[in-house]
């Protein structure tokens, strides 16, 4: 088992013929992902990288029974591409785009909710269940099948965490980058819940950051779980920038939230909080 994606996930790639999309689609196929269709209005009817191309998501779903979509479309087209996927009945969408306008994201969030779908992104390295499916742009050959679930807001720190679980000989069940946009589609608490339902996952690493309240929600949820799996939280963020202007949003959180505030919530909820990413090493040894 794993969460959200596995070898049975039938993946559709929107915008498959682009340069970056081609590069990464080739990689994820090599990593074992079951890519069943691509969508591109220009090349409908042909095949690309051995994958049949359709003119619309609806047609691709009808012909191939695709049930998850990986989006490689420019930021300004993400909203319409996601809407197309939702209307075709896709329930899991992963968007790799960098820099989607925030008002678009708010609208996307609303429609995703209405369709009871899951969106990972819009700005994320994606999701990977090692050896089974990769919907994203993770580096090749670093993931190992195992039993640590990883959820992170920072893509580069996700890789650091992956390397640490490898060093400990534990590997990963599923790794999800929720992205560090102002508003993320998929939240920590939701993923944490899925990891707790998954038999393969023994423990979870959560990498949080400043801004927003995903960590607060996750900590509150974790507190309520009866049979807790070990949760290792690393929370980071820059404080004291010289050009900080965003104080209006601090009103919503009743004052400036610090990294320490977020860490404290996890400690109180019963999670293991590490001070630096290198400290994962020792904690993982104990879990083993």
């Amino acid at each position: 088992m794993s969460i959200l994606v596995d070898k049975n996930t039938r993946v559709l790639v929107q915008g498959i013929t682009g340069l970056q999309a081609s590069f990464h689609t080739k990689r994820i196929i090599a990593m074992g992902t079951n890519v069943v269709a691509g969508v591109s209005t220009h090349s409908a009817g042909s095949t690309h990288l051995g994958v049949p191309i359709f003119g619309s998501v609806k047609e691709a779903v009808l012909k191939t029974k695709a049930n998850a979509s990986l989006l490689f479309v420019p930021a300004k087209n993400v909203k319409s591409a996601i809407n197309e996927a939702l209307e075709a009945g896709i329930k899991l969408i992963v968007s790799i785009a960098y820099g989607v306008p925030i008002l678009d994201v708010l609208e996307i969030q609303k429609t995703v909710k209405e369709h009871q779908a899951v969106l990972i992104g819009p700005n994320t390295p994606g999701i990977i269940t090692p050896g089974e499916a990769c919907l994203g742009v993770f580096p090749q050959n670093i993931h190992q099948k195992g039993n640590i679930g990883i959820i992170s807001r920072s893509s580069t720190l996700t890789y650091e965490a992956v390397l640490e679980t490898n060093r400990a000989g534990l590997g990963q069940s599923t790794v999800i980058g929720i992205g560090d946009d102002m508003i993320a589609g998929c939240h920590f608490d939701k993923v944490l819940e899925l990891f707790h339902q998954d038999d393969q996952t023994k423990a979870v690493i959560l990498i949080g950051a400043l801004g927003g309240a995903y960590e607060e929600k996750a900590a509150a949820y974790y507190q309520t779980i009866k049979n807790k799996k070990p949760l290792i939280a690393y929370i980071t963020g820059f404080e004291n920038f010289t050009d900080d202007m965003g104080y209006a949003s601090d009103i919503l959180t009743h004052g400036k939230v610090t990294v320490e505030d977020k860490k404290q919530l996890f400690r109180e909820a019963g999670a293991i909080v590490v001070e630096s990413i290198d400290d994962l090493h020792d904690v993982l040894q104990d879990i083993k």
Binding site: K110, S154, T156, G255
Partner: protein, 400 residues
């Protein structure tokens, strides 16, 4: 992206929001001329145009005048020149600028608008509930303190996207502000226009502090701050033109021209070069544990070439606070050996008189390490963050 007050007010007036009459001036003479153009008689308000708040609480360190701040009321015509002389070309320090302050190169002159009541109003992107939230408060000072101590004294209304503001919400605001119902239409129009501006301009924050209510019951935006969503600027070419290069600092500007992100901290003496914010954060946290502080960091992101890497090192070395550099690269798409070549090319050109530690992980990390270690220059390399931090601090001590 942020803009100046005078630009924000111009934008808002295009959305039919009441703002005071005003003109920008770059010299004292121009200030006098523009003030008299606006009104033959005072009082006028002279406002320093810097992109930081709390200007009224600010001071000019190089001026003796105790009463001088970033916002000045001038009653007499003869004082227009002397007051603007004291502001223009001088550095203004406010609680939000940091001790370095900001140079005032232009002032905005407005006619004084008498009001009978003031209140706070803003629209923000609410990251917690994924919506736009309208905030209203009776206080106009120290809003953040108020949020911390008595959060119930700030009215929060979550708004529907792209929809009109509800009648019931306007009623709530009226009663919250103790305003009579006869102001319903005025208030509704005022708020509706601002919300339209927020959406149409792809703002992430729009703050009117204060909103004034005039004697004839009109709402007027006395001060305005707008932040824009950088990711949506492609839809707003006219806003992009308003960008003030002087506001962002030389290194930030140089970095952004290469497609990099550069940020400075209030203190610290270590510079970080990374290819992902997370990598900077990881080192930053490690340094904190060792009681060391980051001075600045530069994110070169992906898709760079040797020349650009060299450029990043040059930018970093122009920050006089930097006494040591850590380069933390996770190679994926970006090859580590390319970064190593870039480091050598920069150092061969401009030299290096401070310690530099590089930590590579991922694509071609061994090749990169070898390139640096073989070079006659004294580069340090590390395999972990811990090693990098320890080696750098040791080398910095020796360098003293």
């Amino acid at each position: 992206m942020n803009i100046h007050e005078y630009q924000a007010k111009k934008l808002l007036s295009q959305f039919k929001t009441n703002v005071p009459q005003g003109r920008v001036a770059y010299t004292p003479l121009e200030a006098q001329k523009n003030a008299l153009f606006l009104s033959e008689k005072g009082p006028w308000v002279l406002k320093a145009q810097i992109q930081a708040g709390a200007r009224a609480k600010g001071y000019f360190p190089d001026q003796d005048d105790q009463n001088l701040s970033g916002i000045m009321f001038v009653k007499n015509r003869k004082d227009l020149i002397t007051v603007s002389q004291k502001m223009l070309g001088h550095t203004l320090v406010t609680p939000q600028t940091g001790p370095k302050g900001k140079l005032v190169s232009k002032i905005y002159i407005e006619t004084f608008s008498p009001t009978k009541q003031l209140f706070y109003l803003s629209f923000v992107i609410n990251r917690i509930e994924a919506c736009i939230t309208l905030l209203v408060a009776n206080e106009t000072d120290n809003i953040l303190d108020l949020a911390q101590k008595e959060s119930e004294s700030i009215l929060k209304i979550n708004l529907d996207l792209n929809e009109r503001i509800k009648k019931s919400d306007i009623m709530r605001i009226l009663s919250f502000l103790n305003l009579p119902e006869k102001l319903f239409d005025e208030l509704k129009t005022f708020i509706q226009n601002l919300y339209k501006a927020f959406i149409c301009l792809d703002a992430t924050m729009l703050e009117i502090n204060p909103v004034g209510i005039t004697k004839d019951n009109r709402f007027i935006a006395l001060d305005t701050k707008i932040s824009f969503d950088d990711n949506a600027l492609f839809r707003h070419k006219d806003v992009v033109f308003m960008h003030d290069d002087y506001e962002v600092g030389e290194n930030v500007l140089k970095a952004s021209k290469c497609g990099f992100k550069y940020r400075e901290f209030e203190d610290g003496n270590i510079g970080l070069i990374v290819n992902g914010d997370g990598l900077a954060l990881a080192v930053h946290d490690y340094l904190k544990q060792m009681n060391q502080k980051t001075a600045c960091y530069l994110n070169i992101k992906g898709g760079v070439d040797e020349d650009k890497i060299a450029q990043s090192l040059k930018i970093m070395m122009t920050n006089p606070k930097v006494e040591g550099i850590i380069i933390n690269i996770l190679g994926g798409f970006l090859r580590c050996d390319l970064v190593a070549d870039g480091i050598i090319s920069a150092v061969s050109e401009i030299g290096l008189n401070i310690p530099l530690v590089a930590r590579f992980e991922g694509t071609n990390k061994d090749a990169a390490k070898e390139i640096l270690e073989k070079h006659h220059f004294n580069f340090l390399t590390a395999d972990s963050l811990q090693e990098a931090a320890v080696k750098l601090t040791r080398a910095m001590k020796e360098n003293d």
